[in-house]
Symmetry: C3
Subunit: 438 residues, 3 copies
Amino acid sequence: MTTKIGRTMYQWVSDMFPICRSITGSGVRQTLAYIKKLLPDMKIYEVKSGTKVFDWTVPNEWNINDAYVSDAKGNRIIDFQRNNLHVVGYSEPIDKIVDLAELDKHLYSLPQQPDAIPFITSYYKRHWGFCLAHSVRKKLRTGKYHVKIDSALKPGFLTYGEIIIPGKTKKEILLSTYICHPSMANNELSGVAVTTKLAQWIQKQINRKYTYRIVFIPETIGSITYLSIFSGKNLKMMKRNVIAGFVVNCVGDDRVYSFLPSRLGNTLADRVAKHVLDHSTEDYIKWTFLDRGSDERQYCSPGVDLPVVSIMRSKYGSYPEYHTSLDNLSLISPRGLEGSYELYCKCIEILEHNDIYKIKVLCEPQLSKRGLYPTVSSTDTLRQIQDLRNVIAYADGRHDLLSIAEIIGKYAGDLIPIINRLKDAGLIEAIRAPRSAQ
Amino acid sequence: MTTKIGRTMYQWVSDMFPICRSITGSGVRQTLAYIKKLLPDMKIYEVKSGTKVFDWTVPNEWNINDAYVSDAKGNRIIDFQRNNLHVVGYSEPIDKIVDLAELDKHLYSLPQQPDAIPFITSYYKRHWGFCLAHSVRKKLRTGKYHVKIDSALKPGFLTYGEIIIPGKTKKEILLSTYICHPSMANNELSGVAVTTKLAQWIQKQINRKYTYRIVFIPETIGSITYLSIFSGKNLKMMKRNVIAGFVVNCVGDDRVYSFLPSRLGNTLADRVAKHVLDHSTEDYIKWTFLDRGSDERQYCSPGVDLPVVSIMRSKYGSYPEYHTSLDNLSLISPRGLEGSYELYCKCIEILEHNDIYKIKVLCEPQLSKRGLYPTVSSTDTLRQIQDLRNVIAYADGRHDLLSIAEIIGKYAGDLIPIINRLKDAGLIEAIRAPRSAQ
Amino acid sequence: MTTKIGRTMYQWVSDMFPICRSITGSGVRQTLAYIKKLLPDMKIYEVKSGTKVFDWTVPNEWNINDAYVSDAKGNRIIDFQRNNLHVVGYSEPIDKIVDLAELDKHLYSLPQQPDAIPFITSYYKRHWGFCLAHSVRKKLRTGKYHVKIDSALKPGFLTYGEIIIPGKTKKEILLSTYICHPSMANNELSGVAVTTKLAQWIQKQINRKYTYRIVFIPETIGSITYLSIFSGKNLKMMKRNVIAGFVVNCVGDDRVYSFLPSRLGNTLADRVAKHVLDHSTEDYIKWTFLDRGSDERQYCSPGVDLPVVSIMRSKYGSYPEYHTSLDNLSLISPRGLEGSYELYCKCIEILEHNDIYKIKVLCEPQLSKRGLYPTVSSTDTLRQIQDLRNVIAYADGRHDLLSIAEIIGKYAGDLIPIINRLKDAGLIEAIRAPRSAQ
């Protein structure tokens, strides 16, 4: 691994890190503007506040210029300019002198992690508040404080990005990542960077079988909005076309990989992700759908039922830096990003070749007359032939490439050249792609 | 556990203990008369001797007044008045002087349990005999003995009781217990007492969804008769309506619980009983249908195929006191009876709520606007919400309550309040009850 | 085990051992002539060289009179007359003086097994060569050698034998063995002997339900030819009729048994073979279809899909003597042959009785009125009755004999007398034979 691609992605994360994102507002727009420079074909959509989206309503747009708590001497002891996690997300505007007792009711800190600023939001209940390191909070003395939040919470828009990269068929692979967290690296900007790089890589692939639907959305309300708008047109198309989907997130650190299945647990997305992880890592954490927490909550909800999973590094909620200021640029690495990127490339490469194959002759074919049988045997060529003969044995019109690979105990990616040789020899044909759920 | 209910049931067992029951006769009638005082709605049926019941024929009715073996001096050395197990069930009348050699051919005792009187019957072959403690038998001396059995074996009736407690639907839950053993406590009167108490409890439940069919029958010939009479009308109705059934027996001692599955092994009755046992006891014995021995032999027979299982304490045939005079009032306890009663109540409570549920919105519902999201989070409320969110995630129109509980690893009974809250909020609906076999 | 049958089979192997077989030619014809004396009803077929058989073509016929390498003094240092493994199978004729360097390019030996002559063929590429012990090869000195192979490779025929033993139905059991290896005992003549003996035994069985198709063919090209000739008529009939099939081979040594499944893995042939092995041997090796290597490669190929498995002793490729001169008469034994023969007899006996059974009464039948219930109980009669009652419990019109045996944990062969007693009593009926794949 040269980490050249990793370093590129790391640079993107660094560039987007300072932006104060939330589920709506100018931070989302700045982030999408940055991505659009990398993916000029991406389209940006805006959905009005108040729009009904299934059981929810698109909220007012929130923007913030500045926020601080200053002491009697005018010293900013909590300062949004230094770290945008200091303000509770969606805080209403405030400009007031309060005593410590009142201030304290609006403060959030983590006694167990005294140097970390927590990430707190209050999207659907009007509220204001500040987050700070517990070590700082403990030093606050009785007295008067000036609390100032220069924010606006007004009708506006929810903003998201979408790029459709067409393939030979209308069948789709979905990549979804979120763009609603302020300055945090593993959760969330790692996902944005890897998804962007995957989109660039997919654009470069020729002869794509599948169409790729890649979305950059705020988490939860964004995926709900995306599925419901245009009278549910996206949902209808995705239900018809998506054969596999991935919520790309928490893909930046160097720790062990993890897997979060779909609700149904046996979709094509589950199968390819588990196969790639089984053959790429010594060990990885297998979460269950009960451990879900990102947009698979919507994509896999009853009635939506899309085949969506996640390959992650350290999963949201499972690592100590999660949702704090410690989830910063030092937590992730070029190597961490690139490793995740490569696993997703492997999934896509296998999906592109994952047809159900059928041998065109009865009984075993005569390999020697086609130059498929080695003239001089060595240990390695015999192994090659063994895989080829086993692929033929299970190319029975019932098994897709992933099934064949599982049966014969090999990595599906390694069987793709064999599949291509057998196709070229006219011995097998792809009879159809499998359904999303087998 | 207060054991108040347990003490009530124990008293009932004590009251019925002295009655000399068999598969027909006045002992059965006396027992049913006692139960009818507790369950006035119970109906008592009599089926004539000679009636064809599938492959069997209802036998002659057997009644007994007295029986003894007396020695040359007129001392009753074996006396039916002291313990009704002393006479082989269905013994024909006899009044004869015999020597020890002839007497011995008609004696039954247990060398391994020298103080226990065994329980022996000869329902379908004319015979007479006495059962006695082996320690007593060994003391018998050569000489003349007067054997006297004042019994009658004549055309009469087979008697059973049935109570139908109607619910909102014709779909039924079956409880079946047997009333054909003389003075024995765990096998059989514990079953009679628990079934009677369950019937009283069911009558008190308002809004019963299911109809309850509760039968008090002699074992084997009784269940065969019950299924076949009225030209098989009971069988037809039960095959159409019974969603789950239980042979309630051997439920009185304090030893470990045990489970006997249905023949098919995966019916709704199996699922609910195993779920309740898994969540109620540290450990229990899982028998297979090969270990069957009571009326599930008939209810689960091929072509009958009712979904019938048993939750027991010490299973018939598996404990040393079984079918001897040691299976007496000291073997069972109020606590033992009440524990079994409670497990059956739990099964019924879950079955009453075990619909297939479906969420009525697409994507996750917004819980906060319905007051279902805690305003202040604590560890416990978050756990509550987790269950609620997981119930929603699997309320997909395919899973019943038991399936949801199994998937999310919780006790189904604890999910009933959540189901009710979600129904009240209009978020889920019960779309249908599951079939008896899933 | 008297091994009388084993000694007979061992004698047959000894008689056929010296013949120089290949996939075509006079060695095959001599072998079939020997078998025909034992099975006069066997028919011998000849298929012309050049005939298209699926993806293959029947090759030219190969015959050989003599072959040797002699040194300058005229001493035969490698001599076909001493062991027919010395010549590479299908060697073209040669008569030439060569130096050691050129000779060496045409020699085959096994450095790891210096005293063994390897078995090498070149059926589909024109070539000549000699096989010899590595210990001999090392002693060859520089000099001139006369290489002489008096063989002929000309249009002729591929020869095979077939015997059809008719039964009451057209449904068939297939036995297939191969006759294309020169002097080797476990692989292959053990298979020929056991198959021949099985055919004699089957002919003696009266009331055969199934028709038996028994074929003696060259491996690979022979099974491909057999399936494809007569415009694929054999294949069509076999696909319609074969309920179970066995490639009988490697059945002569005394080592542990082994099992090779069909490609689908759950056919009737798999089920019966595993059941017999489970109940007949303490331990056996369970190979997977990935370990295949004989005619199951053709019989189980996609689109052919016959239910064909192998019960073997030491499997081809898994024992050190395989495909060398060490696989000789000392490797196999009468006991080894007879043990394999008996397992195949057991499979056939069970298949002949493996119907799906159905009890003809509702509820349990009354056994005592039919004399099926013991009047005096002993431990053993109770065990007998337990099996009988369990057979009745699962004779539900859904389970075949093998399923019933697996459920109740007994050997199916031991249940056949029970099945017969229940049939005689009019209590059960065979409603149909199961499909080949359950």
